[in-house]
């Protein structure tokens, strides 16, 4: 429908919509997160749902203990190598459409614990992530911001055409490799179908080409 006409009609008090808009509006207004905290960030996640920050305003206060009932996984905290298989398994158990917020420095990259032998350097090595929020831990406002970003993303999703999301394409993966415990490390250490090392010249890290470090 023509956007101009739609705007014109709404001025006259006539509300028009499309199935896609209604569908996305319904989905974005009732995101049910998985009741799943890993570390420090989980406490801020709980604080976000409490009286002062009141996540319920955005339709996302119904934390479900079962992955089968959840739409959104908030990876809140450090993902250790011992925990990584369970995180992927929980993600696999969630029904489509499903979304992931990577909350805090640890879930993004390992954060302050990056150089630990048992710390996974970012959950995006194994599962696709929709919204990253930095911080150690991020404030509740930052988590609410991530929610709003996710709502915007859901609102803009096309249900048809080649830009449609992964879960609407038959044959696309909705389950991902669960790593196994190896003798020295996880096997595999990353899922190449999900994550590739970003193309930066590591040897020049720390310099901007100006000659100054």
């Amino acid at each position: 429908m023509d956007e101009k006409l739609k705007a014109e009609l709404s001025k006259q008090g006539i509300f028009t919509t499309s199935l896609q808009e209604l569908y996305n509006w319904g989905r974005k207004s009732s995101i049910w997160p998985l009741n799943f905290g890993l570390a420090c960030c989980a406490i801020e996640m709980i604080a976000t749902t409490m009286a002062r920050y009141d996540l319920a305003r955005f339709g996302a206060e119904v934390f479900r203990p079962s992955p089968r009932q959840a739409d959104l996984m908030i990876v809140a905290g450090t993902v250790t190598k011992k925990m990584a298989p369970q995180v992927v398994r929980l993600y696999n158990q969630m029904p489509e459409p499903k979304y992931v917020i990577s909350m805090g420095a640890c879930a993004i990259s390992g954060g302050p614990f990056k150089q630990g032998y048992n710390v996974l350097k970012g959950i995006d090595r194994f599962i696709p992530v929709d919204v990253y929020i930095p911080g150690c831990p991020p404030r509740p406002e930052a988590l609410i911001d991530a929610f709003l970003m996710l709502q915007k993303k859901i609102d803009e999703q096309q249900l048809t055409g080649k830009d449609r999301p992964r879960h609407l394409t038959a044959g696309e993966a909705s389950e991902f490799i669960v790593p196994l415990f190896g003798a020295h490390d996880l096997e595999p250490t990353q899922n190449p179908a999900v994550w590739r090392p970003p193309l930066v010249q590591i040897s020049k890290a720390g310099t901007d080409g100006s000659g100054n470090d």
């Binding site: 011992k82 150089q115 032998y117 048992n118 350097k121 415990f181 190896g182 003798a183 020295h184 490390d185 250490t189 990353q190 190449p192 590739r196 090392p197 970003p198 930066v200 590591i202 040897s203 890290a205 720390g206 470090d213």
Partner: protein
């Protein structure tokens, strides 16, 4: 009750035990008692039952790799018929060991900590020490942790499994010579040693 009194009481009550007071030069003044592995259990039982140390707060391991100690020693030598003093570097190898420390307190006397130490023979084969879990239950999980992270085998522990790492894991990561697994695919950092590992990863695994 000072450490020398405890030592002499123990020597009188546990026959043949070899005890040594390790002096701690720091201002904390917490001197510790080194006990040989064979008599450790008897010494611990005596400390618990008769000396009042009923609260074993902390158990931990320490890794001491073998190291070379070089000292300058003045040696008298006859050079060209004249006796002169010459500095010579004498090198001695200190063999490595794993050490386990128990911090004991007495709840009734309100004294402590008394650090009780045990040492293994080496860091490869002779890593066996007696478990003190039958004496102080609090050592149960902590000895499992020392077994996991340092590789000290506690004989007589009721349930000696890895505590923190998974069961299939083979290394002992808290040892000083442990090398991190090679997951240095992407290191947006300027830390020299991390950067070196990242470049090393690239040269072995290659660009993908």
């Amino acid at each position: 009750m000072d450490l020398e009194t405890i030592k002499s009481t123990l020597e009188a009550n546990v026959p043949d035990c070899r005890l040594e007071v390790i002096v701690n030069p720091s201002p904390s003044g917490q001197h510790s008692l080194l006990v040989d592995a064979e008599h450790a259990f008897a010494v611990a039982s005596f400390l618990r039952s008769s000396a009042g140390f009923n609260y074993c707060s902390n158990v931990t391991g320490i890794d001491w790799p073998a190291k070379e100690l070089s000292e300058k020693v003045k040696v008298k030598k006859i050079v060209d018929g004249v006796e002169t003093e010459i500095d010579e570097v004498s090198k001695t190898m200190i063999p490595g060991c794993l050490e386990v420390v128990y911090h004991l307190f007495s709840m009734s006397e309100k004294i402590g900590p008394l650090p009780l130490r045990m040492r293994t023979q080496d860091r490869a084969e002779g890593v066996h020490l007696p478990s003190l879990t039958p004496v102080w239950r609090s050592a149960e999980l902590q000895e499992r942790e020392v077994f996991d992270l340092f590789g000290v085998v506690f004989d007589g522990h009721p349930d000696l499994r890895r505590l923190l790492m998974w069961d299939e894991f083979e290394d002992h990561p808290m040892r000083r010579d442990y090398v991190n697994p090679d997951d240095y695919e992407y290191e947006p950092t300027a830390h020299d040693d991390v950067l070196q590992r990242a470049n090393q990863h690239r040269s072995t695994v290659g660009e993908r």
